[in-house]
Structures are given as structure tokens and as C-alpha cells.
């Protein structure tokens, strides 16, 4: 199987072959011999060239969250062409500001039609007793405002659209 993977802002071409706990993973043409054992739930024990890694894998949209030692990775995977992977991540079209956590809207400072700078505060949310300022993902014009003050929102709720 050939995959396009993205991690830490870098794209890689990955090919996986093998089976029954022994795999060869070629990353950008460089092969790794991996001995793979499931270790309960999301945990896996990997031996890579004799080095032992206790790894945890959690599915997330577009790929996996991977814990390796004390490091936390978001690995995107797609079994299509590299072009498709780039297009999916591309910053074209309207930018959507969504709630990063459940909470309560304390203040909305964005108004439809308003010109905003990248990083300008648009919404203040309260979650876990702290007020968090949510900023414009990029410069542009505010096209839509979907929340009002004191409203309670869930993770992923659409707050503001910037064109």
C-alpha cells in the first residue's frame, strides 16, 4: 500500500509491505524493518532495528494521533496522489473559525462585513474557568457570524467565517 503522509509540516511518500507482525515501511524510499505487536487497546510495541518503542495510536480525522515516548504527533494519511493531499490541506476558500472546545461565548467582537487582520481577536470563549480569545485564521472580511454572547457551544461549532 502506498500512502501520502504528513507530519510536523512535512509530506512523505510511504509504502507498507509485509504482514503478520513484520512489516517493511519505506519512507521516501528509505526502508524501516518494523516488528509490530499489539499491546492492549491503542498501545503497540514496535521494534525498529532493535530499538524498542512503546507507541499509542488514536484515530483522528484524516489520520492518527501517535504518541512515541514523550512526543505527540498528528500524522495525516491519504492513499491517493500527493496532489490530492496538498489540495486537501490548501488554504483556499473561506476560513472557518470553529470552537476548539466546548464552552460559553463571552464576547463576540466580529461583525459581518468587517475587515479583519490575521490574528485579530474575534470571539472570547470561556471554558474550564478561563477566558480564551479566538483569533482570525487569516486576514479578510467577516462573512458570517454564527454565535451570540452567552451562548453555549460544543467542540467544532462554527463561530465565524472569514472570506
Amino acid at each position: 500500500m502506498i500512502l501520502d503522509a504528513a507530519v510536523d509540516g512535512q509530506a512523505h511518500r510511504v509504502e507498507v509491505t509485509g504482514g503478520k507482525g513484520r512489516y517493511t515501511v519505506a519512507i521516501d524510499g528509505r526502508p524501516l524493518e518494523v516488528d509490530w505487536r499489539e499491546a492492549g487497546g491503542p498501545f503497540v510495541s514496535l521494534l525498529v532495528g532493535g530499538r524498542s518503542h512503546h507507541v499509542a495510536l488514536e484515530p483522528r480525522p484524516g489520520g492518527y494521533r501517535v504518541l512515541v515516548e514523550s512526543h505527540d504527533f498528528a500524522v495525516d494519511l491519504l492513499e491517493t496522489t500527493l496532489d490530492a493531499a496538498v489540495a486537501r490541506r490548501g488554504p483556499t476558500g473561506p476560513a472557518r473559525l470553529v470552537a476548539p472546545m466546548p464552552g460559553r461565548i463571552v464576547r463576540v467582537s466580529a461583525e459581518p462585513g468587517q475587515e479583519v487582520e490575521a490574528g485579530q481577536g474575534l470571539v472570547v470563549m470561556e471554558a474550564m474557568k478561563m477566558e480564551n480569545e479566538l483569533r482570525a485564521p487569516r486576514a479578510g472580511r467577516v462573512a458570517e457570524v454564527h454565535v451570540r454572547e452567552w451562548q453555549t457551544v460544543e467542540t467544532g461549532a462554527l463561530l465565524v467565517v472569514v472570506e
Binding site: V7, E58, D72, P100, M101
Partner: protein, 503 residues
């Protein structure tokens, strides 16, 4: 001397409720947990002897409801209440309500909480007791005009703080006059919702300040000791993330001087039970009294590990009327302890809260490691409360071995389902400035964000693991077309394959 308690109600949740319940069980005292609707099956409820519901999820409707907590204490026939930290721990009305109801509040008397809880009156008392304080206002400010006038007098940069404050809530650093109004609005709004009091005060912002605090303990018989310092300079949003004892900054002379200042203020205030005096130190190592926390501190385990004193049990014994079992000269600091606060927050996304269900958890153990946690695998970290999940504490013979031990433990610690501050500690514990003890409260702002230059991340292992998992799942889906794998890009793939055949 009062009788031993038979039953204590713990007016808190999370790791601190677990900590107090554990102390009760070790002392043979029955424990009573209280819980909100979302905490029905929380760890503190599971570990307590009894558990009483006190209302809906919102803290204001449950953990902050003095009447309901007192009712639960009466109904359960508890004789004393341990407030933990946060919630009602520094609420003088609550301590007073306990006193009125004939319940022992495990902490200082209510008038002392009022005196020290109002940060400006604490500052005035500290001045009277001979403690140096950070220059600023000694009276609380209630309107924008007064804030502007005082700010002009003190000068910028300055710190804007809630008069009823604590825990970093309602606190802002203001760099210039232009930022004053918006910072004051935000701080007052936060203070109003956290403390029901939006008055603020101002202090001059020190250059690269360090945060060092002194643990004190006083009994009802006039005996007062200090249990040395904790260094708490590693902070984000004015909240501590890493603490240690001893502080790499203090000399024996400075330690003795700060301890004596702390004891002087405790005596002046007529304070009893556990408390902490926070000091800021500037580059010349001059300590300035900041405030007193009239409760058990989150980071109390580092003091426990270096002094060998169980502070929670000692709090309970003092509340029972017992005398301090040691004098100042009996206390020594042995070795070095570090605490890392595992918060349900994403350190790579500006410490945004990351509540949710803990899908999997592997907690480190072994020599010198202590994990004070409020959760286990399968538990929910609700969005309604403080995001502290656990405190990982390491002890070593000296600072270097404590750091090495902590790094080993952080590497073993795995949490899935939520993001945590664990990856941050890997960076902090490797940082040359941290290793050299060159830390101040802006440490994380300056270098805590994102990947550091020269940091080796085992990204290839991560990519290989993800790719193999996807490969294995795809094969499983192929042999059993009805079984669709995990919610990821692979669901689409699996479906397409199931519909379109083997291409």
C-alpha cells in the same frame, strides 16, 4: 484537646479530593465525597466511603453552593470539612457557615481568610509585619477612572490583579497605557465570574520575576513553623505548571530570612493551619511579598517529598486541636522534588482546554515517582472545571537526579483521548536554562511554544506506526467487508472498496 474526627466531608473534586480521601482512609477517618451530576462516577466518588449529590454540573450550582455542602455534611453527620483548593477553599463565608453549623473547617478561621483573601488588606498587614511588598496600590480599585489614575502613578509595565483573586484568574500584565482599558475590562469580567467581585489592584511588573513561595503551618497553641520554599516560576497564563523544592535560586541565608518573614506574618495575622506565602524575586534576588494563600496548595507534594511531612494529615491533626509534632529546628530539606502539572490542555495550541474522555492511560511508577491523579482510564474530564488531571512528582537525591527521574516518568506516561501538557515537560526538562536553574515567570512564553531548534522528534517511528495501523485495518476491512475501520480517511477507502470491489 478536641476529639479525633470520625468523619470528614471533602468539599471538592478531582485530584485534590482524591488526595484528602486517601489521607482520611490512612487515618481511619470515614470520608464523604460530594459530587455534581457530571461527577457521579468520578474517581473521588469511587474512592470515598460515602458520596452525596450537590447539584448540576455548573460549579456555581454545585461545588460553590455553600448551603448544599453544609446540608450534605449535616446529613452525613460529618464533623469536619476539608475544602481542598479552589472552589470554596478561600471563601470566608463558607468557613463562617461551617463554624455556625458546628462543623470544623479544616483551615484558618473565617476572619483570617477575609483578612488575607482581600489581597490589598493582606498587603497592608504584610507591610505592618515588616515584609517588603511589590510597589503598587494598597487599596482596591472599583472603577476605570481610578485604575487609570493609579496606573499613571505606578507606571508601565504593570500587573492588574483581582482584589479577591487567586489562581491567575482576573490577572493581566499590561505593557502600556494603550492596553489598560481592554485588559481591565477582561480582568474585571473574569474576576466577577470567578469571585463575584470585580475590584482590582495594581502592582509594578518586576523585570523577569521569579516566583518563590514559603509553606507555613500553625497550630491553635501558638506554634508556627515554615516548611521551606517552593520554586514556581514555570507558568503559563500566570498559573504554575512546574514546581520544585528547594529553589535553585535561594542561598541558606535567604531561605532563613524568607522563612522568618513568613512566620512573622503568620503570627501577626493569628493564622492557623496550612498556608502559603507567595513572593516575587527580582534579578537582585530581593524578595517581595505577593499574597498569602489560606489553604493547601496544589503543589504541596514537593514539600511533602523533601520534608517527609504529610501536610494533609497534619492539617487534619491541627484542626482536631493537636499541637505541631515538631519544632522549626526539627525540619530539614532532604534531596530535591519536582512536580509537573498534567493539564487537559494542548500545549501546541496556546494551552487551549482539551476536555473529553480518557480513552487510554498508562501511569508511570517505580522509584521516587508519585502520581496524584483525579482520573483513571475511561473517565471523563468535564469542561466545567479546572483542567488539572494529575500531578506527577519526582524525588531525587539532588536536582539533577530528580530531573532525570522526571524525564524518565514523563516518557512512560501515556494519555489518549485528550491532549495534555506532557509533551511540554519533555522540552522544559531538556532546556539548558531550566537545567541551569535560570528560570523566571516568562520562561514558557519565551521558549515553551512548539518544537525547539535541535529537538529530535522520532517522527519516522510515528509515521511508520500510523501507516502500519492503516495497512492492518485496511486488510481487516478487506477480509470482512461489513466491518468498517476507525473514523478516518480509511472509512471512505473501506466503503469505496466494499462497494467498488477489489479495483
Amino acid at each position: 484537646m478536641a476529639d479525633r474526627f470520625n468523619k470528614i466531608l471533602v468539599a471538592n473534586r478531582g485530584e485534590i479530593a482524591v488526595r484528602v480521601i486517601r489521607a482520611c482512609r490512612e487515618m481511619g477517618i470515614a470520608s464523604v465525597a460530594v459530587f455534581s451530576e457530571v461527577d457521579r462516577a468520578a474517581r473521588h466518588v469511587r474512592l470515598a466511603d460515602e458520596a452525596w449529590p450537590i447539584g448540576p454540573a455548573r460549579a456555581a450550582d454545585s461545588y460553590l453552593r455553600i448551603d448544599r455542602v453544609i446540608d450534605a455534611a449535616r446529613a452525613s453527620r460529618a464533623e469536619a470539612i476539608h475544602p481542598g483548593y479552589g472552589f470554596l477553599a478561600e471563601n470566608a463565608r463558607f468557613a463562617h457557615a461551617c463554624e455556625e453549623a458546628g462543623l470544623v473547617f479544616i483551615g484558618p478561621r473565617s476572619p483570617t481568610i477575609t483578612l488575607m483573601g482581600e489581597k490589598t488588606s493582606a498587603r497592608r498587614l504584610a507591610v505592618a509585619a515588616g515584609l517588603p511588598v511589590v510597589p503598587g496600590t494598597l487599596e482596591p480599585l472599583a472603577d476605570d477612572a481610578a485604575i487609570r489614575r493609579e496606573a499613571e502613578r505606578i507606571g508601565f509595565p504593570l500587573m492588574l490583579k483581582a482584589a479577591a483573586g487567586g489562581g491567575g484568574k482576573g490577572m493581566r500584565r499590561v505593557a502600556s497605557a494603550g492596553d489598560l482599558v481592554s485588559a481591565a475590562t477582561r480582568a474585571r469580567s473574569e474576576a466577577r465570574s470567578a469571585f463575584g467581585d470585580d475590584r482590582v489592584y495594581l502592582e509594578r511588573a518586576l523585570v523577569r520575576p521569579r516566583h518563590v513561595e514559603i509553606q507555613v503551618m500553625a497550630d491553635h497553641h501558638g506554634n508556627v513553623v515554615h516548611l521551606f520554599e517552593r520554586e514556581c516560576s514555570i507558568q503559563r497564563r500566570h498559573q504554575k505548571v512546574v514546581e520544585e523544592s528547594p529553589s535553585p535560586l535561594l542561598t541558606p541565608d535567604l531561605r532563613a530570612r524568607m522563612g522568618a518573614l513568613a512566620v512573622a506574618l503568620v503570627r501577626k495575622a493569628g493564622y492557623v493551619n496550612a498556608g502559603t506565602l507567595e513572593f516575587l524575586m527580582d534579578e537582585s534576588r530581593e524578595p517581595y511579598f505577593l499574597e498569602m494563600n489560606t489553604r493547601l496548595q496544589v503543589e504541596h507534594p514537593v514539600t511533602e517529598l523533601v520534608t517527609g511531612v504529610d501536610l494533609v494529615k497534619l492539617q487534619i491533626r491541627i484542626a482536631q486541636g493537636e499541637r505541631l509534632p515538631f519544632a522549626q529546628e526539627d525540619l530539614v530539606q532532604r534531596g530535591h522534588a519536582i512536580e509537573c502539572r498534567v493539564y487537559a490542555e494542548d500545549p501546541d495550541a496556546g494551552f487551549l482546554p482539551s476536555p473529553g474522555r480518557i480513552l487510554a492511560l498508562r501511569v508511570p511508577g517505580g522509584p521516587g515517582i508519585r502520581d496524584d491523579s483525579g482520573v483513571e482510564e475511561g473517565d471523563e474530564v468535564p469542561s466545567h472545571y479546572d483542567p488539572l488531571v494529575s500531578k506527577l512528582v519526582a524525588w531525587g537525591e539532588d536536582r539533577a537526579s530528580a530531573i532525570a527521574r522526571m524525564r524518565r516518568a514523563v516518557r512512560e506516561y501515556k494519555v489518549l483521548g485528550i491532549k495534555t501538557t506532557l509533551p511540554l515537560f519533555e522540552r522544559v526538562l531538556r532546556d539548558p536554562d531550566f537545567l541551569a536553574g535560570r528560570i523566571d515567570t516568562s520562561f514558557l512564553e519565551r521558549r515553551g511554544r512548539g518544537t525547539q531548534a535541535g529537538e529530535e522528534r522520532p517522527w519516522a517511528v510515528a509515521v511508520a506506526a500510523a501507516a502500519i495501523r492503516a495497512f492492518v485495518q485496511r486488510r481487516a476491512a478487506r477480509t470482512a467487508p461489513g466491518a468498517v475501520p476507525a473514523p478516518s480517511a480509511w472509512r471512505r477507502e473501506g466503503r469505496r472498496e466494499a462497494i467498488g470491489g477489489r479495483g
